[in-house]
């Protein structure tokens, strides 16, 4: 019997966290495990209640979400992690994958997010179409 996939949402913007939760709730077989806004809370929450899947923003307030990805994948290798970001720059994609992320999904399209989540759970790597080379770079460093 397939059990429900539990999804953690790590993003520092409240409305966006709520929106991702709405997307997850709309997917049969998935449920929101918890949502958090900053890096320290994220690690503590994963430690106390490891989800099946974590959706992580590139930045969590002033701290790098990529560092959080690296810590989660190192300490809880069973947790699949997808970076959900507005940045198309290839450097961010490379950093996310190097940190152990199973996927890199651009913000904005729930269908792509669902596709990425299912791919990650199937053990596949998923990168949003617009973040794939060769034309993925934004005109300038993205900063935050």
């Amino acid at each position: 019997v397939n059990r429900t996939v539990r999804v953690a949402i790590l993003d520092d913007h409240q409305l966006f966290r709520e929106t991702i939760a709405t997307v997850v709730d709309s997917m049969p077989g998935f449920e929101v495990a918890f949502t958090v806004a900053d890096a320290d809370d994220a690690i503590a929450a994963v430690a106390s209640d490891p989800p099946d899947l974590a959706l992580v923003d590139v930045w969590l307030h002033a701290r790098s979400g990529i560092d959080v990805v690296a810590e989660i994948t190192r300490r809880w290798p069973a947790v699949r992690v997808i970076v959900v970001s507005g940045h198309r720059r290839r450097a961010y994609v490379d950093q996310a994958l190097a940190a152990g992320a199973a996927g890199y999904v651009l913000k904005g399209d729930p269908a792509e997010l669902a596709e990425g989540m299912r791919a990650a759970l199937a053990g596949e790597r998923y990168i949003s179409r617009a973040a794939r080379p060769p034309d993925a770079d934004e005109p300038a460093p993205g900063g935050r």
Binding site: T22, S26, G86, K107, G108, P110
Partner: protein, 225 residues
């Protein structure tokens, strides 16, 4: 204490530039950290409605709204970067000017050649921002007034004196004529004063049909060593 006095004068002179830069940075951060995230949220919710549309016509209409939101987000991202280029955080002025050249080409069709025979690190944030803003305004004025699609920015350092020469082979203007022209653009009317207060100067050579060459000269002090 001449060094301290020089430093005080330099800081006072560049205060307007830094205040403007800080305000631009604040707005850029607001755009990215809040406005863009709200737009992404709306876009994703429209995407959900699109994916659950009752018929093809409704799906197509919602898809169009979804794409329009994507274009709006791209515009806010460009605006955010334009307001506060992250590359200005680096001390190397040629990096920032190289990025500026890329921006001028992609957004305004102006091909800018940046020439420097050595690196030009400027640790003083205020001075770096001031020079970047003036060069940017000069290039905007080439776009607006010179009727050419090429310009050149050449940097040189001689005896702790930095020179930046911005030139084009456009239609030029009469520097004595006043009113508008390539040095009358936004922010440039105050450039001579702001440069003078940091011990620098601006020289303009131009004439009808003769192109325009603007030379900025600034003492670098400790930055050049």
């Amino acid at each position: 204490m001449p060094d301290d006095a020089d430093e005080q004068v330099r800081r006072l002179a560049s205060t307007p530039a830094m205040a403007e830069h800080e305000e631009r940075r604040r707005i850029a951060r607001l755009l990215h950290d809040d406005i863009q995230q709200r737009l992404y949220s709306i876009q994703m919710r429209v995407g959900l409605l699109r994916d659950g549309a009752a018929d093809d016509a409704q799906a197509a209409a919602l898809s169009e709204v979804h794409d329009l939101l994507g274009q709006t987000i791209d515009r806010t991202r460009d605006l955010s970067v334009d307001l506060s280029p992250p590359i200005l955080e680096r001390t190397e002025l040629t990096d920032a000017l190289g990025w500026l050249a890329t921006q001028m080409a992609s957004m305004h069709g102006l091909h800018v050649e940046v020439v420097a025979d050595r690196s030009v690190p400027i640790a003083d944030d205020d001075l770096r921002v001031l020079l970047f803003e003036i060069v940017r305004e000069l290039l905007f004025n080439v776009v607006k007034h010179a009727a050419v699609d090429r310009a050149r920015v050449e940097l040189g350092i001689d005896d702790d004196q930095l020179s930046i020469v911005v030139s084009d082979e456009g239609r030029g203007f009469d520097p004595a004529g006043g009113g508008g022209g390539q040095t009358g653009g936004r922010g440039l009317s105050s450039a001579p004063d702001r440069l003078a207060r940091v011990g620098g100067a601006i020289e303009i050579r131009s004439g009808d049909g003769a192109g325009t060459t603007v030379t900025l000269a600034v003492p670098l002090g400790a930055d050049a060593r």
